[in-house]
């Protein structure tokens, strides 16, 4: 059961002035695991995710991804690291409004290295948007936009996918679609997922649940699978 941790969070604390958002969080996530972080609002979920993504700096503690201590990297190295190793999905399906679905995916390729149209189209087909690759975000439904985001997040084959309430703005039907898609892609590519949600229903797709409260881990357990696959 004890596998080498792909993502290691070591005594991670984040304080915003007096407010302690995270207190000494310790977590080890093995390669390929789907971890769901749950907790009420204000429990520090988003802060944890931002720290893992390297978007903000911790007050204390370390985040190691694939053995690399990301905060020991320079800003530029961190940026480079993020491009290569991390995919991000947000609650608001952030897409550049003036670019088509395809171009949004290609933009991520572009930032990473070079745009490759065929590969980008392929990724959109994978998320089931074959007929909508040239639509602008405005012309897509919320679920479709989120699927574009997934395609974009995974286009550079990251080892770690971070998702912040990915279904927060979607109805059940669309949420299920998105989560099933994620599940399918996860199975195929075996990347690690850290998904933040407050919705227990969403948590069922993951393999392990960590409960955060007041910036501390209060519970950590593996999920009894009723759907999805087993490892």
């Amino acid at each position: 059961m004890k596998r080498k941790g792909y993502l290691e969070i070591i005594r991670l604390s984040k304080e915003y002035g007096e407010v302690k958002a995270l207190r000494e969080v310790k977590l080890t996530v093995p390669q390929g695991q789907w971890l769901t972080v749950m907790g009420p609002s204000g429990s520090g979920k988003t802060t944890l995710l931002s720290l893992i993504a390297g978007l903000i700096k911790p007050t204390r503690g370390k985040v190691k991804i694939g053995g690399v201590d990301i905060f020991s990297l320079s800003d530029n190295q961190l940026l480079q690291f993020r491009r290569e190793k991390i995919g991000l999905i947000f609650q608001q399906h952030h897409l550049i409004p003036y670019l088509t679905a395809l171009e949004n995916v290609m933009l991520a390729q572009f930032i990473h290295s070079l745009p490759d149209e065929a590969e980008a189209i392929d990724s959109l087909i994978k998320v089931g948007l074959a007929d909508k690759i040239n639509r602008y975000p405005r012309e897509l439904s919320g679920g479709e936009q989120q699927r574009v985001c997934i395609a974009r997040a995974l286009i550079n084959n990251p080892g770690l996918l971070l998702a912040d309430e990915p279904t927060g703005n979607l109805d059940r039907k669309n949420s299920e679609l998105v989560l099933n898609l994620l599940s399918k892609l996860h199975q195929e590519s075996n990347f690690t997922i850290v998904l933040v949600t407050h919705d227990p229903w969403v948590a069922r797709w993951g393999e392990r649940i960590v409960q955060l409260e007041d910036g501390k881990v209060v519970d950590d357990f593996l999920v009894q699978k009723s759907r999805g696959r087993k490892r």
């Binding site: 608001q92 399906h93 919320g142 703005n169």
Partner: protein
């Protein structure tokens, strides 16, 4: 509640407000500054034009002389404050000894201070009438004394220098004077010998008399009405004409106080300056109007750009059930606030600028006007309202749901 919302939005959109404020200030400052300079520029420019020489000449109506005592009366006419230079002359020929040559002698004031009936000090004389004139040595002051100043080319011809003693003899008298300076006025003056007026009167036996008077008056450009012959005017027209600083009107007023005189504008000077001045005004007015347009667009576009970002805010307020009128009032009060503060600061910045421009170019301070203040406020307010209005209208037309979805 309304005030709290207003303050909250001010706080939340700090940068946006700051930028909008900055834009309102710059826009208003540009307009206030330019209009301010424009207000005073024509007066300043016509004063500049009047620095070098006369534009009205007063001569005896028939042959003979004018009275010296009347010279002072020129500072009592209706447009007395526009009279910036007065210089009386008494001309005559005299033989210079020891050079033994006949020269043109001009009795005049180089620099003479006197009090106007209102009790103001006024400095008259050649040196204030023609600021281009330079004196090597020193000028004589007032109208008394045994001193003389000689024109530079005459001095060259006669080989005279300051300190020399001269004997001048006319048909009537012979006097002795000491040369104190050489004048370089760049004109016919350079070939004349200058004596204090009283001394020359004594030399020529013409006590209390002058040959002509040169006057420099700040005037307005002649227009169709100003050119008309006052004899053909109705009483009311004549009053209007008389009370406008047209060169012939000022000349006429001078003629009335200087006994037995005929005062005429130096037409070439007057017409040229009138043209230059009116063209200059036109140039400046054009540029001012253009920058007014520019600043209107600049402020409005800043405000519009700011409002674009806040479409979701409007939608949220609408979703919360606020009426369009209520939202409109909220945003327009922001516009009012911006317009007011921006206009005030812009006005201050504008007069500061107008003042420094005035000081730099004309060496005179800027005298702010209430009308300029009001104008700046109105411009700033109107422009801000306009800037808010269009995007607000657009934002209000959105369905709340559309915007909230993102």
């Amino acid at each position: 509640m309304w005030l709290r919302l207003f303050l909250a939005s001010l706080k939340r959109q700090k940068l946006l407000f700051f930028l909008a404020f900055l834009s309102a200030v710059t826009g208003t400052a540009m307009v206030a500054g330019l209009i301010g300079v424009y207000f005073e520029a024509s007066a300043n420019v016509s004063r500049e034009l009047r620095k070098y020489g006369a534009n009205i000449i007063v001569q005896p109506a028939s042959s003979g002389y004018l009275k010296e005592e009347d010279v002072y009366k020129i500072k009592t006419i209706f447009w007395r404050h526009n009279i910036v230079g007065i210089n009386p002359y008494l001309y005559g020929f005299a033989e210079v000894k020891p050079a033994g040559k006949k020269v043109l002698v001009a009795g005049t004031w180089l620099k003479k201070e006197f009090l106007t009936p209102e009790g103001n000090k006024f400095v008259a004389g050649l040196l204030t009438l023609n600021r281009g004139a330079r004196i090597k040595g020193k000028p004589f002051e007032g109208d008394q004394g045994e001193l003389a100043v000689i024109g530079s080319s005459l001095a060259f011809q006669l080989g005279l220098k300051p300190g020399d003693k001269l004997v001048l003899s006319s048909r009537q008298k012979e006097i002795e004077v000491r040369l104190v300076g050489i004048i370089e006025a760049g004109g016919y003056e350079d070939e004349q010998l200058f004596l204090p007026l009283k001394k020359a009167q004594h030399l020529f036996g013409a006590e209390g008399k002058v040959s002509n008077i040169l006057v420099s008056a700040v005037t307005v450009p002649l227009d169709e009405f100003g050119r008309r012959d006052p004899k053909t005017m109705t009483r009311r027209e004549f009053e209007k004409w008389y009370c406008t600083a047209y060169p012939p009107a000022v000349a006429k007023q001078i003629e009335e106080v200087v006994c037995g005189s005929s005062a005429r504008p130096v037409w070439q000077v007057v017409e040229t300056e009138g043209k230059v001045l009116s063209k200059f005004q036109l140039v400046f007015l054009t540029l001012t109007l253009l920058s007014l347009l520019g600043s209107i667009v600049a402020v409005a576009s800043t405000v519009m750009a700011g409002m674009m970002r806040r479409e979701d805010e409007v939608a949220l307020l609408k979703a919360l059930g606020a009426s369009k009128r209520w939202i409109g009032r909220l945003f327009l009060s922001e516009a009012f606030f911006l317009g007011l503060t921006g206009g005030l600061s812009g006005y201050l910045a504008g007069i500061l600028l107008a003042d420094s421009i005035n000081q730099l170019v004309f060496g005179t301070p800027f005298e702010g006007k209430t009308s300029l203040f009001l104008l700046s406020l109105v411009v700033s307010l109107v422009v801000n309202f306009l800037g808010f209005l269009f995007p607000l209208k657009k934002a209000l037309s959105f369905e709340p749901g559309v915007v909230l979805k993102g």
